[in-house]
């Protein structure tokens, strides 16, 4: 799965926001608000990846329990899916 639109991501204090670029902005007019870990997941989704691949990348980068990481990834993907931002 991957992101449906092209986004620009901006760091704002401790968080990140993503805004759709160009013509896509008329289809998704909103902003995606993220923390550091969800921003990492978001970045992975620029390419076509599976949930397992994302979790694997995160385990390399972050020192946290796999169960926890899996849950965070699943929750964030669900949010993106709800907003119709993912292409499967």
């Amino acid at each position: 799965m991957k992101l449906r639109y092209e986004f620009v991501v901006q760091e704002v204090s401790d968080s990140f926001i993503a805004v759709a670029v160009g013509a896509d902005a008329s289809k998704f007019n909103g902003i995606v608000k993220m923390n550091k870990t969800s921003a990492f997941v978001f970045d992975q989704l620029k390419n076509d990846v599976t949930e397992d691949e994302i979790v694997a990348k995160m385990l390399e980068k972050y020192d946290a329990e796999e169960k926890r990481i899996r849950k965070d990834v699943k929750d964030f993907i669900a949010k993106l899916s709800e907003a119709d931002l993912l292409v499967l």
């Binding site: 092209e6 901006q10 760091e11 704002v12 204090s13 926001i17 805004v19 670029v21 160009g22 902003i31």
Partner: protein, 244 residues
């Protein structure tokens, strides 16, 4: 036909199809060497017509009129490379400080800045209109400035000047007058909605970086107001910190 103008302190050349566009920019003409060039074409004007239609605009625009919109769009895109963004709002300056009122069209930004012009002089504060509709906002090491441009609303209220911005205020219509400071987390949706959103990824990234600075350096207020003179006193005293 080409001519050079200076806006937000930056000179640039415009090559226009219609003479009326040069006339539209007459208060901003300059002899200085241009830093960049904008070219208007019949195709871009057609594009602008299509956008108006898509946005649900039912007014009839002539091609000459549409050229001014098409040109400003290009200016907004190019200016993001020079730390300038385009904002939709009415800017009034008092005692050397500018205040930007933002809201969807028809909410009452111009009405409110007009109230400032009627009411504040009675209390000894002269009000200068910087730009009643679409100011350019320039970011420098010395501060954030609101700039006059020819695109200053249907009554053409504005001045060819740059004034440091002191605060930004979102307006909502309400029966009673009330103002509050919004926490910074609320900034982004408001700011993004009222700022020109460029089409190029690079320009959009530049805009977001500038909005981040905007959000960090300028206080954002929310004003609920009616059209009574008291509304002007409520907003001015809160935003300027001066007791009226």
């Amino acid at each position: 036909m080409a001519f050079t103008v200076k806006m937000a302190g930056i000179p640039f050349e415009i090559e226009a199809v219609y003479e009326s566009t040069r006339e539209y920019c007459r208060d901003y003409l300059t002899d200085e060497e241009p830093a960049f060039r904008i070219v208007s074409t019949a195709e871009l004007i057609r594009d602008e017509r299509r956008r108006s239609a898509e946005a649900g605009d039912t007014r009839t625009w002539s091609d000459a009129c549409l050229e001014t919109l098409a040109v400003y769009r290009q200016i907004a895109e190019a200016m993001t490379e020079r730390d300038v963004i385009l904002f939709h709002g009415s800017v009034a300056a008092v005692d050397g400080a500018a205040y930007l009122f933002t809201a969807p069209s028809g909410t009452g930004k111009s009405t409110h800045t007009r109230l400032w012009r009627e009411v504040l002089p009675k209390y000894g504060h002269e009000v200068l209109m910087v730009n009643d509709d679409k100011p350019l906002i320039r970011f420098t090491k010395d501060g954030i400035f609101a700039c006059g441009t020819p695109w200053n609303g249907k009554h053409h209220e504005g001045t060819n000047t740059m004034v440091p911005l002191a605060a930004v205020c979102r307006i909502l219509q309400a029966p009673e007058n009330e103002i509050r400071r919004l926490p910074a987390e609320n900034d982004w949706p408001v700011l993004l909605r009222q700022c020109y959103r460029p089409e190029g990824a690079g320009h959009l990234a530049a805009t977001l970086r500038l909005l981040d600075r905007f959000s960090r350096e300028l206080p954002l207020y929310e004003l609920r107001c009616n059209m009574e003179p008291e509304a002007a006193l409520v907003s001015f005293s809160a935003m300027s910190g001066q007791k009226i």
